[in-house]
């Protein structure tokens, strides 16, 4: 997937430029939790490698044309009438935004799956 991977000792994770810089990035341990949630639990519909399943692919190519705010809203509130559930019980809007930035840049490797 072209991801660079998060170096061990996740404190040194580089925060990409862009919207995430406006919000505060989650703490390193939480980042790992979120990436894990992404691959495993979002992965049960979007594929563990996010190449698609019952839900569409969440790869940089698939998402590049999508407005970021819409993607964040989809994650937080789900899409009624489709199989995409709301995730607000498990993550905040800022965390969803952080995930979207990672998804769009393809940087979604965890230290250990």
């Amino acid at each position: 997937m072209g991801a660079t991977g998060v170096p061990a000792g996740a404190a040194s994770v580089a925060v990409p430029d862009g919207p995430v810089a406006r919000t505060s990035a989650p703490a390193p341990a939480r980042q790992q939790e979120l990436l894990r949630l992404l691959r495993q639990d979002c992965g049960s519909c979007h594929g563990m490698r996010l190449t698609g399943g019952l839900g569409p692919a969440l790869t940089p190519e698939a998402l590049s044309a999508r407005p970021e705010a819409g993607l964040v809203a989809t994650i937080v509130a789900g899409r009624p009438g489709t199989a995409m559930p709301p995730w607000r019980r498990f993550l905040s809007e800022a965390e969803a935004q952080w995930l979207v930035v990672r998804l769009v840049s393809g940087d979604v490797e965890t230290v250990r799956d």
């Binding site: 594929g47 698609g52 019952l54 559930p85």
Partner: protein
Amino acid sequence: MIEAARRRPLACGNAFRPESRLRGVEPSLRLPRTEPGSGAARCRIPGAELAATLLVALAFACAPATPASAQTLRGTGDLGVVIERATGRVQVVDTSAKSSLATIAGLGDLSHASVVFSRDGRYAFVFGRDGGLTKIDLLEQKIARRVLQAGNSIGGAISQDGRVVAAQNYTPGGVRLFDAATLEPLAEIRAAPGLDGTPSKVVGLADAPGQRFVASLFDAGEIWVIDASDPRAPKVEKFTGIGRQPYDGFVTPDGRWYIAGLFGEDGLALLDLWHPERGVRRILDRYGKGEEKLPVYKMPHLRGWAIAAGYAYLPAIGRNEVLVVDTRDWNEVARVPVAGQPVFAIARPDARQVWVNFAFPDNGKVQVIDTETRSVAKTLEPGKAVLHLEFTPRGEAVWISARDDHKVVVYDTATLRPIATLAADSPSGIFFTTRAARMGF
């Protein structure tokens, strides 16, 4: 034929290149005992029609590198495979010894992998998310053949006579048929399009009597019955308007009924395979009517059906319940409240218990339903992220995968206590060869 196989080594064991995309037709090797690895090139047997005994003798003579496992004769009735989803590997396991015999790598993306078995119980066909279809030899403990047959796939089935393997695909949406011996492609059936115009994702593929396969189309809302009597020219009977977003389906153990669960509306779609002309009818359409559904974080799986003493135990979608349905008239007779949204509800082979696991975030638990009282007898916590469970052939034990604890825990089903633990890397599906002889598996 041997000559052809030598020129194209990807058809034989060790020399296989996992990422080679299948183009055209692999030569069919009718001398399976001579296939493995280095043996294939050296065994030059004139004429393919040889007595089995001679074949075995030759195989031993020609293949000095025969693995130890093949030197001790054994059956496969107590073998199975455990999927290691994150690393694209499977373990071959022995349910009598409660041990792992081998790990086989190179199977690609195994998230949502599923498995069917050849009817001799020797080969496991593993369907990977990335469209890989891998035939594993449980005795030689290696990949016998592998093809990449689609872009995105979630499972498959094997025909009544064991000769045709069918794969259900998301991209391109459809069903593909393969020769079970060679994995040679036989036919491709494109699914009807959904709203966005692309072929529908195919779910709930199952085998049925009469060399048939039955599948549901998630986006198009249809059930298709595929007659594969002539697998190069399958005939498809289509049932349209069966309900919105069927997410999975299964065939009852007697092969008579096909049932698809619906995500987009209430109830399930039922087809009588004895009387397909009567069409698909809706059952349980009152369950959950008007009640707010919970968000569904993982779709339930119906293939691990539980039919116990004339009643079907089905995972409810969007609610923390298992539905109990009378299979004579398909009416709901009870609901068992459980600890989360059920994913699998599977009956112990004697049908006295139904074991249930759950979707995120309740996936650390397993509950055991007593089918006599229709209530939860015990709640277990086998480990983090329980993805699947599988009973031994006669059900004295059940194997449970705990993905995030990287282990498989074996429970005694009489005492409900753990009796063994096996290490496994992000284990998901567990599949035992007993499936080889069961319809709908």
